[in-house]
């Protein structure tokens, strides 16, 4: 197992290197961060040359990539160079954004997984019942739903709910503009109140989408297992229905879903990008949108490198978990 993990990590190094190089070339050819400077009053050709030299833009792309890579690996992720913005360091900006997104996504995904798996199992056990039809059609509907529309709808009904609370003489509860910097203060009850108010809406929006995928997947794998030979054998031995379902079928039906959970990272990330934009969270999504709009190559490269590394890690986790849960898969 350890040997397998080490081998996989070694394989992913060249993939990450080629991937980062491709991204670097893309970002480098997509635009000149100094393009706007040319049109500023009082900027001479010499100023432009000096600015280019300061950023290393006068060197060939291979050398620039090499320098970026060396700096990146030694922990110096550079500074944002978007014009007209404060010069922020890339490393804290990306890690802060990742932390913000992580707080939102991890909770939402765990909730979606729990709910999706329970609904999927119930729907499979009671196949073709009213519950099954309801669950299947809801999941299908949510699966075909554009995430940003769900987020917009959830947000606006949240605001209306707040208005109702206010008209009843209560405080506004739900926040639709991101977590307040500095964390939550006050008594225990107040912290809970603020915490749930801040997290509830984006979590619901993210959850609704992921939930659909998990419940569909769990229902399908549970159905397949329930119709397999070893379940029939278990029934034939006279084992009770609940024991067949929980001890024999359920545990095996969890295997594919657990890998989906780790492989889903890319989809979850794009869902988070949209949810964050709608709810005004300063996470990875907002960072990406802003760095693209202002065209900020160092920030984009930091973003892409972190995301790609995380996806590689999650894929590895998916394979390892699969190997642990399913002894038929031999790793190594």
């Amino acid at each position: 197992m350890i040997r397998y993990i080490i081998r996989r990590l070694l394989i992913s190094i060249p993939i990450l290197l080629i991937g980062s190089f491709a991204c670097y070339v893309l970002v480098a050819t997509a635009g000149n961060p100094l393009a706007e400077m040319r049109f500023r009053p009082g900027v001479t050709e010499a100023d432009l040359k000096a600015a280019e030299a300061a950023l290393g833009l006068d060197k060939p792309v291979f050398i620039r990539y090499w320098n970026w890579l060396a700096d990146f690996l030694s922990g110096d992720w550079g500074q944002s160079i978007a014009l007209g913005q404060a010069k922020t360091a890339v490393f804290p900006a990306v890690t802060d954004a990742l932390w913000t997104t992580g707080r939102l996504v991890i909770g939402a995904e765990l909730l979606a997984l729990t709910l999706g798996v329970s609904v999927g199992v119930l729907a499979a056990v009671r196949q073709y019942s009213i519950f099954d039809y309801l669950a299947t059609s809801t999941a299908f509907l949510m699966f075909s739903m554009p995430i940003f529309c769900v987020a917009v709808i959830v947000k606006n009904y949240g605001i209306q709910f707040n208005n109702v609370l206010e008209s009843m003489g209560l405080d506004r509860w739900l926040t639709t503009a991101g977590p307040r910097p500095g964390g939550f203060t006050g008594s225990f009850g107040e912290v809970i109140f603020k915490y749930t108010g801040t997290f509830l809406l984006p979590t619901v929006a993210l959850m609704l989408i992921s939930f659909a995928a998990y419940s569909r997947f769990e229902r399908a794998s549970m159905l397949e297992i329930l119709h397999s030979d070893f379940v029939r054998t278990a029934r034939a031995k006279g084992i009770s229905q609940s024991r067949v379902i929980f001890r024999h079928a359920f545990r095996n039906a969890l295997i594919p879903v657990s890998t989906l959970f780790s492989l889903n990272f890319g989809a979850v990330l794009s869902g988070a990008i949209i949810t964050e934009t709608v709810f005004g969270w300063a996470g990875m999504g907002t960072l990406l949108v802003n760095s693209v709009r202002q065209f900020d190559p160092p920030m984009l490269m930091g973003w892409l490198a972190v995301t790609a590394t995380l996806i590689v890690l999650f894929n590895l986790i998916a394979d390892v978990v699969y190997g642990i849960l399913d002894p038929r898969i031999r790793l190594g």
Partner: protein, 310 residues
């Protein structure tokens, strides 16, 4: 299967040859394609969805010739409510929402169809090549898949649109470049097992070339999963394009799309809800219809899962 039923319904299976041949004559023989077609045509939801999809295509491409307003017409009336002249109201600059929706649907459909067609073509070709030739080519193609899977599609699309062009076909090409990997993996898996079969060996013994074996012998045997995945790729492309455009990083004016229309109007959710719900309903019915068609096709191609009888 129908033959056996007929025979057993007659009670004893008669050993007299003329009687049994009579029974067999009573059943019409159908080709595989006819069977699939029948199963698909009897899938009620898929048929309804096909109707919805056809309606949306007409709405997008024929609608503008019938409807009185053009998407470029700017009336002096900003934010008109729903009325006889403007069934879905007007936008801030006074454009007729219905005309805009037709235009946006047309762009979204064009993008989604191009993405699905390209992704399927690339995915099937690469997947079949990797699975059939194996060895070095397999390794290279599958590493390419791994490579593309670790780069977030939405980020690359945004950078390309920002750096080069926000025309609808650029968006379509970028999305297609990142949409073929799952089809390639599925095709590779099926090719690996199909390539072991005798008919492939026979074709190779006859001297058939690699392209001929792939496109004449392997691909027709995988047509079921290819069609289903191509359909699902359309639905995915509709949603991805809309999400990208909603972030302001996809299709740029003067081109438009359903995502752009939602982006421009979702701020009116509270005061003029029809400006949000109009594009929302078109978007959801488009992706729902395509997903249902895909589901119907899957049931039609895979009789084991079918709930509909042929």
């Amino acid at each position: 299967m129908a033959n056996i039923n007929l025979a057993s319904e007659g009670g004893v299976v008669n050993s007299a040859p003329e009687s049994s041949s009579h029974e067999f004559d009573a059943t019409k023989t159908r080709t595989q394609g006819q069977l699939v077609m029948r199963r698909f045509l009897r899938h009620r939801l898929a048929m309804v969805s096909l109707g919805v999809f056809a309606f949306l295509v007409l709405f997008a491409f024929v609608g503008p010739f019938i409807w009185t307003f053009d998407y470029e017409d700017v009336t002096s009336k900003s934010y008109q409510p729903m009325s006889g002249t403007h069934p879905l109201g007007t936008t801030q600059v006074g454009k007729d929402m219905l005309a805009l929706l037709m235009r946006g649907t047309a762009y979204s459909l064009q993008i989604a169809l191009i993405v699905a067609a390209l992704a399927t073509a690339i995915g099937v070709t690469f997947g079949a090549l990797a699975g059939y030739l194996r060895g070095f080519i397999d390794t290279v193609l599958m590493r390419l898949v791994d490579l593309l899977l670790i780069i977030p599609q939405i980020a690359v699309a945004a950078i390309v649109v920002k750096g080069f062009s926000g025309s609808w076909y650029v968006v379509a090409l970028v999305l297609a470049a990142f949409a073929w990997m799952s089809i390639a993996r599925i095709t590779r898996g099926e090719t690996l097992s199909l390539a072991q079969r005798e008919f492939v060996e026979a074709a190779r013994a006859c001297g058939a070339s690699t392209p001929r074996i792939i496109f004449k012998h392997l691909v027709p045997n995988m047509i079921g999963s290819i069609t289903v995945n191509a359909t699902l790729a359309i639905a995915a492309a509709v949603l991805t394009e809309a999400a990208l455009s909603f972030l302001g990083l996809g299709v740029q004016p003067p081109d438009t799309s359903l995502g752009v229309i939602v982006l421009e109007n979702y701020g009116q959710f509270m005061n003029r809800p029809w400006l949000f719900w109009g594009p929302f309903i078109v978007l959801v019915s488009l992706s729902l219809a395509v997903n249902f068609i895909g589901d119907g096709l899957r049931d039609a191609f895979d009789p084991r899962q079918t709930k509909v009888r042929a």
